[in-house]
Symmetry: C2
Subunit: 313 residues, 2 copies
């Protein structure tokens, strides 16, 4: 079964890791949000692509949830001494990724090609695709002003109240040919338990993506468990945007695109509510603290999606 | 005595260090070649400015002659693993300098301002000035094609035969206001024992510089000792350009600008030849292996230049 997994950062990376373990790696394509990408200290940084790549390569730092395990911070500590901007913590080996990417982009390579080279060099057997090669930037409109995503997420620690999310470049950005081909070839599409607003939504705004997903059996995994986000500001955003802070609130966002939904067992009382949205629901252990938990959730997703029909148009 | 020292990389940095030790630091301004500057891996790198700054800060690596003492290479070793361009060896702390510089330049700061900030952060009391804030690039025309300077110097190890040196941007580059002010305020100008063609000549090509030097007592220190360059391709360039590979060949390059010349004691037989160019000559121990040797050569230069009159116009 050829699977396309739509993913943001940590949650998406963990499920993708599980899928890679239970599928032949050549059958897995992870399409990754690039709305968080930014240029900092002259470096082109793609946080979600890197989290997915490091995780699939087994190099992710499981203590912090970002960066590379065992990385050192000589460069950033020295930047701090030079009174340079050191608020975005980059490890030395992580910086090597960004330097290499920045140089390849400068040579005219597409982000898709750069990502293929980096994943190959790190020994990742599955395919990792940026959602687009075009400029695309997620901006968060808050009660304290308009913030670029990393500014909101890292520097301001998601503290300002979100009023709206805006995707700069969304009018002209196109999905890459590789993304379109992967969706066309897919037997199923799985929305990882990533932030619906800033991880999955950017992918869905790209032209020709929604109708391709609707043509396939597709399910989403809830990033909200027991009324909270496992990681990141998804719950806070649902609340601030006036939506239901629950799997049902997430499922409602994806209505019309998916026919299946996977949510945590702790939320089993909400199954009828989600089913009332016309979705086939499965509950599972969705907190992925171990490799076994990643694989188990991946298996539940594959089992579930194999029983689905597509949304149709 | 307020002194302006014109400098390239290692030799210039060593003499500048000696001058900083024997002068009140506020009386020393080092005007540094920027023709070697280049962008690599997205980083703006200023090799001569960095060598001078690291040396004045006491952070220079005396074993290799480049980079910072005790630096680590985690980033570049990882770039190599990612099959990125790792031919230009950059240490981790050195990369921090370039990242900070690149970011400040991106924010619109001039190289002069960036250098002031970096030198202050590293505790350098003397003033270090890039020769210009404008684009300026030294290109080496060789029998194997036209090469950017670092390509010739580092990647090709100065092996191709030099036919000509070309300064891209020389028509429009201006010395910074700080350089002009330092020259106007100077009591003496000292040309460090740097490469005449690719370290000192770029500074001299800038408008308004030559006449300001001619208005001051000025001397040059020979980078050629016993028919060889202490470091770098100066001797090879003199030979390939059909010039005399000796202090006299160097002195002839500077004719009309300086009235004094300092050369090594091993070349004392050539004193009459250099005097015949109309220069007041002093011999000294010019190989600066120790701090004491740097200070001693600096004292010889100050003694000598204090007895000179200016070239006049």
């Amino acid at each position: 079964m050829k699977v396309v997994c739509l993913a943001g950062g940590v949650g998406g990376a963990k499920l993708a890791f599980g899928l890679m373990r239970v599928l032949p790696p050549e059958d897995l394509t992870v399409v990754v949000n690039t709305g968080d990408d930014f240029t900092h200290l002259g470096l082109r940084i793609c946080p979600d692509l890197d989290t997915v790549t490091y995780t699939l390569a087994g190099l992710d730092n499981r203590d912090t949830g970002w960066g590379l395990t065992g990385d050192t911070f000589t460069v950033l500590d020295t930047v701090a001494k030079l009174e340079g901007p050191a608020w975005f913590r980059l490890g030395d080996r992580d910086i090597a990724t960004h330097l290499t990417r920045t140089e390849l982009l400068r040579q005219g390579k597409r982000v898709t090609e750069v990502t293929a080279r980096l994943t190959r060099a790190m020994g990742v057997a599955a395919t990792v695709l940026p959602m687009t090669d075009d400029p695309f930037a997620t901006n968060v409109i808050t009660d304290e002003g308009d913030l670029e995503f990393q500014d909101y997420f890292v520097r301001r620690r998601c503290e300002p109240r979100v009023e709206r999310i805006v995707f700069a470049g969304a009018e002209s950005a196109r999905p890459s040919p590789e993304v379109i081909a992967a969706l066309d070839a897919a037997d199923a599409v799985i929305f990882a338990p990533s932030n619906p607003f800033v991880s999955i939504e950017p992918i869905l705004t790209l032209p020709d993506v929604r109708e391709r997903i609707m043509a396939k059996p597709a399910l989403a995994v809830s990033p909200i468990v027991g009324g909270q986000a496992i990681k990141g500001p998804a719950a806070k955003m649902l609340y601030e945007l006036g939506l239901d802070v629950s799997p049902a609130g997430v499922a409602a966002r994806y209505r019309g695109l998916i026919t299946g939904f996977v949510m945590d067992e702790v939320d089993r009382d909400l199954v009828p509510t989600v089913e009332a949205l016309g979705l086939q629901v499965r509950t599972a252990q969705s907190i992925m603290r171990t490799d076994a938990a990643r694989e188990s959730l991946a298996r539940a997703c594959l089992d579930s999606v194999s029983t689905l029909s597509s949304m149709g148009t």
